[in-house]
Amino acid sequence: MTKVLPSLKIAGVALYWSAMAHAAPAVDGTTFFETKIRPLFIENCQKCHGDKKQENGLRLDSKAGWQNGGDHGAAIKPGDPENSLMIKAVRRIDKNLQMPPKHPLKDEEIAALEEWVKMGAPDPRQGTSAAKKGIDMTEGRKHWAFQPIGHPQPPTLAINTWSHSAVDCFILEKLQRAGLQPSPAADRLTLIRRATFDLTGLSPTPAEVEAFVSDLAPDAYARLIERLLASPHYGEHWARHWLDVARYSDTKGYVYAREEKMWIHATSYRDWVVKALNDDMPYDRFVQLQVAADQIEPAGSPHLAAMGFLTLGRRFLGVTHDIIDDRIDVVTRGLLGLTTACARCHDHKYDPIPTRDYYALYGVFQSSAEKVVPCGLAKGTVYEKEWNVREQKLRETMATRREEQSARVRATVKEHLIAQLELEKYPEEAFGQLLDLNDINPVFVRRWKSYLSEDEKSTDPIFAEWHALKSKGVIKDLHEAAARYGTLFADIEKQWRALLKSQPDAKALPNTADERLRGVLYTLDSPCYVPDEHIANTEMFFTASTVVEIWKLQGEVDRWLMQNADAPPQATILVDRSKPSTPRIFTRGNPLTKGAEVPRQFLQVLSEENAQPFVNGSGRLELAQAIANPSNPLTARVMVNRVWQHHFGHGLVSTPSDFGKRAEIPSHPELLDWLAQHFTLSGWSIKEMHRLIMLSQTYQQRSGSPSDAIELTKVHQLDPENRLLWRMNPHRLSFEEARDAWLAASGELNLIMGGRPESLFAKQNTRRTLYTLVDRENLPTVLRTFDFANPDLSIPQRNETTVPQQALFSLNHPFIASRASAITQRLKGSDAASKISHLYSLLYQRTPTEHEMESALNFVQLDSAPLAQTKQPNAWQYGYGEWDEATGRIKSFTSLPHFNGSAWQGGDNWPDEKLGWVQITATGGHPGNDRQHAVVRRWIAPQDGNYTLTSSLIHEPEPGDGIRAFVSHNKRGLLRSTSLHQSTEQINLETIAMNKSDTLDFIVDIRDGLNSDQFLWSPMIKLSGGAGSGGDIADQAWFANKDFDADTITLLPPWEQLAQVLMLSNEFMFVD
């Protein structure tokens, strides 16, 4: 049954019902309501439209409820079922308006409703107020996280032989109450490894370990922490934690091809975060700069880079609403631990965040525009000349196009007025129409719309006639009026042009009335105005071809600045628009259904009662100050919890970016407050937090299991997850930490700081993983596999998964094997044992146990004999030589020296200095530069028999003269020859008799000249009529392409295999 049919049926039933109603004695309205309607409402509607919930602002538990209606207006028009929303909804004709949402009413129920409405909707229900129950702020503020930060004192414990540091007292009290005790302190090696990874993300060097282990001074550990806090690598490591929250990416994500995909300012932001942390910048300043540096710092200040926090998000295909949503999300979850974005479509379901609060913040960002500015001095002048040329071109083009576009709108007043009568033809921003010059652009139609509505509200409207006619709604009259306005404004435009000709510096038309009309066309508020902003803000004002043109020019500028090391660093900041806009609630998050206006303002739950709206510009600075205000209960709590989380593996609050009602309550609420309080009192010093935490005995505990069996059973029963911290949590290295540690152990880690990113597996990239290119559109699989933070989303805590793809990478990716090779090169020692000791020292900073030594020695010594035997039989060889016409054979076969993972060739570079373009791949190749360097793919028969050859040889390129190819048998000479240019030839041979170890050569040379000689040729050779026929063909066939990789394994030597194993061990990957 379709959805259309029932409504026809319903109509029938309705007729039937009304017939009944008329036939039967007149039913009293109230009785009808009580028997038919009230039960129906209670059963089907009031769960969502009643006392508890008011979906869409509608409640149906009182007469006033449906009279006042919800977001869409009155639910019922008494006496007129056809025009009653409720009847439309229950008939389910409109896809977007179907009630009840899940289960349609029965036909007779619908008919009853229709009848009731027709009767005039008699409804005796009174009393219940229809007023919407908004969020109860007073109630909402009672949640612990919104309470002011307390002043808890560390508990005084009756028995405390452990430690008297405040942190420890809080921890110990909870342990004692649970009947648990803390673990003993970890040993020195564990401590330095733990502290070094925790603060710098690097492993300690063997020398550092040695120095610390032998330092018996009582303050040795405290000095270690100070040394690490002073290390510049501290900032790098903790910056990465912050970048997860800031959804950092070096690229914009998917953008249309016209736009440069690299962010010009990502590097500046990343390096700013590193420096700010190294400098221990007070966190309140750290926060404010990231939200409003434009209003705190002077032009050119390096701190402008901080605003990347707001501007590094995805581009969301240029859709403003989503860009702003992303900014609200990163600010509120990132800085406040509040999930405000939940209030985009409806009041927050759990937390006291009404939709109006979301749009109050929306207004702040809507009133701010993106701008790219320098955030530091140029290091030289080389970049300048060309930069000026490109910048000039961009600016001029932008100015020209803006003026052209404005002029077009000024010249089409009539069309824009008529457009107001058919707004449905002009879709919202997300609807990507390709516009050309003659199109009426929806953006201007909407600007006219709001202009006209402002005008109508004014005391002396310019468009008074239009407004009057509009209220009457006679289309013909409106069209005529539009034409008159068109002529009128064309005349004004003409006057103004004429005046400018005679007085180029004229500021106004002489006649006041005319000047007022000119204002409609020319002021900043004019609906014809195109803002003078970065193209990122103004795409929708232009035609498709102009957008492409300007982005290309912008890309030229951006690329030039990115390529030139001496160019000044760039920041993308937000600046307040000259006229901030007052946001309107988008009902249900839909920009097309605009609701009430709301002032730009801070979140109510974090504000005083009756707090005032923001007054300065967009209000962004006030927002930043409100977040960083010490009386704000969330900012400090959220940050100390993040610091705690990265030291212990999980936070005191287990959802670090959600402190709302659905978050678990903190494991140690007093400790959280004590830390938060100390944080603000210490001048918001993050390093002070590290000291407090790391100097505690809690942090210095062992991470292993209790040696005592009873104790072990107890902790497993009472606190298996270690929420009370009866031990330290072991830490698994993140991908960044692991990669850095591998490179450090192999002696290759390049510790140079800052600057442009490099792609992960670029050959020369031995820098810290922090500087790896983060391309959010195409993040390397290995990063995703190892739970790298998704750069599209603010990630407070990474997932931690263990999947075989991680192991596959570790085993098979050349990156690890190369590190294993490099570390083996470093090994010093006269014998195997001392080399193994060195290897253990480099990787684990300790000496191997006797048993470990024995296993390692066995591994490297028992190697070569069995390994050589297990190497796969090599049916194919790859070489080069000169074709000899006379003998029908290659003159001499020389093996190609280098395999790059996908091709055999002369060397790492292709073409090679000596061997030129010679190359053989799985499916084809390229001959060398002259006839002396034909490429030869050789197949060696594994057994006696008759073989069949099947292959196609393909030469595609048009330039040049093509190639020559030969198939040659070591005993029988030439079997087949051909010359090929831009064509395909089947090269198939039946019954080639071969003895074991005979060879077939597949030879290609350049013919007469070197030009576009690449070819495809991957022969398949099959044993015909041999033993075991009828089985799987793969067993008796050799495929040049399939066998290619299998044959080209260059086994790692045993020492490197050993190094690889040790690099992959759990000891390496986990920090106790």
Binding site: T2, K3, V4, K95, Y254, F316, D322, D329, C342, K425, P427, A430, F431, G432, Q433, S654, D658, G704, S705, P730, R732, E777, N778, T781, R784, D787, D792, L793, N799, E800, T801, T802, V803, P804, Q805, A807, F809, L811, N812, H813, H851, E852, S855, T870, T923, D1032, I1033, A1034, A1037, F1039, N1041, D1045, A1046, I1049, T1050, L1051, L1052, Q1057, L1064, N1066
Partner: protein, 464 residues
């Protein structure tokens, strides 16, 4: 059945799944003990699944519904004339453009299909054609995101990732969600199979099916510096070292990591085998055809057979079906590339008894206009994007074959009868897989997210 769920800590996972203990079986599936894949004898779904696996032919670029599965004879009447009403799309379009392709009735159901999919049409009695799909905007990028991830703009997990999250894979030696596209990425690249806030392991594994060498198909499946013997020897040492290291330590992650290496070792063989179609008999290879689409479809069947949950087959890099001009030539060429493989797959699945629990999906991100696209004043002989109405079809597990659901208007511009949103489609797919789209949730940023957001109605009329 195997579940990858315990790749996250059990606790963390449960907290986020919003399912709660006991409500859905997932709770029971998560084993802290084994740390890696926990197994269970029966699938813990919300209700009995009709389908266990999905194969999705994605005709990226937007195949024209009026030239394939939605005949519109009325366009002939208006040929070279303006339609009474046209809708705004991305570009300008002109007069009515009758399909240049012949439609014909097929099967017992007599459903009309164009000559482009004549071979597929032989199976029409197994197929339910939805002729009333609609999307939100006439642009590729948002529509691809909507079709794959349920939201046009925001970063959300793809359907395949949700299935991985809800059901896991049945084969621990293979990735459970595979996206194949010959020659490169479709528009929007890896975002089409992203896991967003779900764990990275649940994203689709991309395979460039252009490659014929098995080793090239999956990243890191082949070692360039070890063979089975040397690797086994390494792993034996690694295991020994790791087991010694475990002494005095308690951490399920240590076990998990040890296991993951063994699993990886096995995966190298089994994955290579799954992707190697040379093991297929000749008559099967011939059935699918020798082109790249025949090959990738046959690989897909091998994967499905081995328990891979969701395979998506893209037509090609970029947006091949996007025929703004010369649609007759363009559509004819592309349809010829996949008609045979699709028909072959349907026959092959049926013959193996797999069609009854395999869901086959066909479609693009939107359809095309029934009017001709204009370039200035000249007709391009192509069609513009059309999100107001288009066709998708499904066959196999739990689908009532020989069904037409919904319709577009007389000309094929907009969905008219039973308009079907992408959310409805997703709700139905999850339903067929045994999952309630309203209950399959994941908590991120304070919200319990669903594939269908707050929408979605199950298309009951196409269910068997």
């Amino acid at each position: 059945m195997k579940y990858p769920s315990s790749i996250l800590s059990r606790r963390n996972f449960l907290k986020r799944s919003g399912i709660g203990f006991g409500m859905l079986g997932l709770a029971g599936l998560l084993s802290e003990k084994s740390g890696l894949y926990a197994s269970s004898a029966t699938p813990h779904t919300h209700f009995t699944p009709k389908a266990k696996r999905v194969i999705h032919f994605f005709l990226n670029g937007g195949p024209s519904h009026v030239d394939t599965f939605d005949p519109k004879p009325a366009l002939l009447k208006y040929a070279s004339k303006s339609l009474p009403q046209t809708l705004i799309t991305e570009r300008k379009t002109g007069t009515a453009f009758p399909s240049p392709f012949k439609f014909q009735r097929y099967g017992q159901s007599g459903i009309e299909v164009s000559e482009l999919f004549a071979k597929t049409a032989q199976h029409i009695d197994d197929i339910a054609v939805i002729r009333s799909m609609y999307a939100q905007v006439p642009n590729h990028e948002p529509s691809l995101m909507l079709m794959n991830c349920g939201d046009s703009v925001q970063t959300r997990p793809s359907l395949g990732s949700w299935l991985m999250y809800g059901l896991g894979s049945e084969n621990e030696n293979l990735p459970g969600f595979v996206s194949m596209c010959p020659g490169g990425f479709p528009i929007k690249g890896a975002e089409n199979w992203q896991s967003a806030f779900l764990p990275g392991a649940m994203q689709g594994t991309y395979v460039d099916s252009q490659h014929t060498a098995v080793n090239k198909l999956i990243e890191n499946i082949h070692s360039p510096h070890a063979n089975a013997n040397t690797q086994r020897r390494q792993l034996d040492l690694l295991r020994q070292i790791n087991i010694e290291h475990q002494r005095g330590r308690i951490d399920p992650r240590l076990d998990a990591r040890i296991e993951s290496f063994e699993l990886a070792f096995r995966m190298q063989t089994s994955a290579s085998d799954a992707f190697d179609i040379s093991h297929e008999p000749k008559h099967i290879q011939d059935l699918y055809g020798s082109g790249v689409h025949g090959r990738q479809t046959l690989i897909a069947r091998r994967l499905l057979e081995r328990g891979v949950r969701y395979v998506q087959l893209w037509h090609g890099a970029g947006q091949p079906w996007d025929h703004h001009s010369k649609i007759e030539e363009g559509h004819r060429k592309l349809a010829a590339e996949i008609d045979q493989p699709i028909a072959a797959l349907l026959s092959d699945l049926k013959q193996r008894g797999m069609l009854e629990d395999t869901l086959v999906i066909w479609g693009g991100e939107f359809g095309r206009t029934p009017t001709v696209e204009m370039s200035g004043n000249a007709a391009t002989l192509g069609r513009d994007h059309n999100h107001y109405g288009f066709s998708t079809w499904m066959a196999g597990g739990g689908i009532k074959g020989g069904t037409v659901y919904g319709s577009t208007d007389e000309f094929g511009f907009a969905a008219q009868e039973n308009p079907t949103s992408v959310h409805d489609l997703h709700a139905t797919i999850l339903h067929l897989m045994g999952l309630d789209h309203e209950q399959l949730t994941y908590r991120y940023a304070g919200r319990d997210f669903r594939l269908t957001d707050v929408h979605g109605e199950i298309l009951k009329n196409i269910l068997a």
